[in-house]
Subunit: 194 residues, 2 copies
């Protein structure tokens, strides 16, 4: 009997942690501070990789979804924080397109620039903007493989009407990845032939 459904859950500590935060976060730096803090907590709780992401209503700052990396504990290599934040937002709103007519513009906030998979997922999601903390090269430097991304990816997203703002709290977001590496967290990766 093959599996007929995919289930990926967030850590048990997450709903309680969320209660100490407002339901709306107005400033973009403050939204990033929320996401970086979420990534740090995921490292400290040993509940996944050092990455977090959230979807906000762009104007009002209303929080729609918040997620952390769950690859290893949930046995799913697609369970990056961005993929979960996007999907949870869509399922909460009952639509596969966060840019559907009549919906307020949505923003994805990610503690680290998206890997090749998550970058590919952004245009399909319907979000209209992307905020990034740590750079792709910060993750690479600490041992994570980010995949084969076009070097001009922010321009390619802009062509699709998705604005990109980078380096928000980059130092703090990078520190969280370093904290994970120091604690001996598993660095799961693609493989190269020698």
């Amino acid at each position: 009997m093959l599996a007929t459904g995919l289930s990926i859950t967030l850590p048990d500590w997450l709903p309680g942690w969320l209660q100490s935060w407002p339901h709306s976060i107005k400033g973009e730096t403050e939204r990033m501070a929320f996401v970086v803090e979420l990534a740090r907590r995921n490292v400290d709780e040993v509940s996944g990789g050092p990455f977090a992401a959230a979807v906000f209503e762009q104007e009002s700052g209303r929080l729609i979804s918040a997620a952390v990396n769950r690859v290893v504990p949930q046995h799913a290599s697609i369970a990056h924080a961005e993929m979960l934040a996007l999907s949870l937002a869509q399922q909460s709103l009952g639509c596969h397109d966060l840019g559907a007519p009549g919906m307020p513009a949505m923003q994805l906030v990610s503690s680290t620039e998206p890997c090749s998979m998550c970058l590919g997922a952004v245009p399909w999601s319907g979000v209209r903007s992307l905020l990034c903390g740590a750079r792709d090269e910060d993750a690479r430097e600490l041992g994570f493989d980010e995949g084969d991304k076009p070097s001009d990816w922010p321009r390619l997203l802009a062509r699709r009407g998705i604005s990109v703002r980078r380096d928000l709290l980059r130092v703090e977001a990078r520190e969280v990845i370093g904290r994970y590496a120091l604690k001996g967290g598993e660095i799961y990766n693609g493989r190269y032939e020698d």
Copy 2:
């Protein structure tokens, strides 16, 4: 209260449909025939987009997972057939890495070449080979956006130890996409700024 778990299910007809197929499929063309037939059934049942994918043990041909596109009915833009087939295989085997030590080599068979997101997901999954039916341009021609993919993507996967074989039953796989378009199936897409 924000969502704390992602759940994506396959269509109800799928387990019954699977019973008419063997548990192992030896030849690569036969594996593709299985996947194309699965995509066609998904169109006829109006249970998602015109795409299917499956994970097989490369040598034995043992079927590990089989999935179809579920984007619209499951409200999740990440619910492409490849993403679900990879995740279901990993969750069935209890490991985020289908290339983990001691595991037999795994193969992803997809009725159409992967979009940018699914292409990014392939190296993270641990599969060692990829079989494709319809070409990327077949899907584009029929209105689907495949995203910004490097033109030499088969070589980039090969560098990572993942072999690619293309154009297996391309005509048949393309016909399924056309069948969906003819029936007026929703073509969900990324957006371009004018």
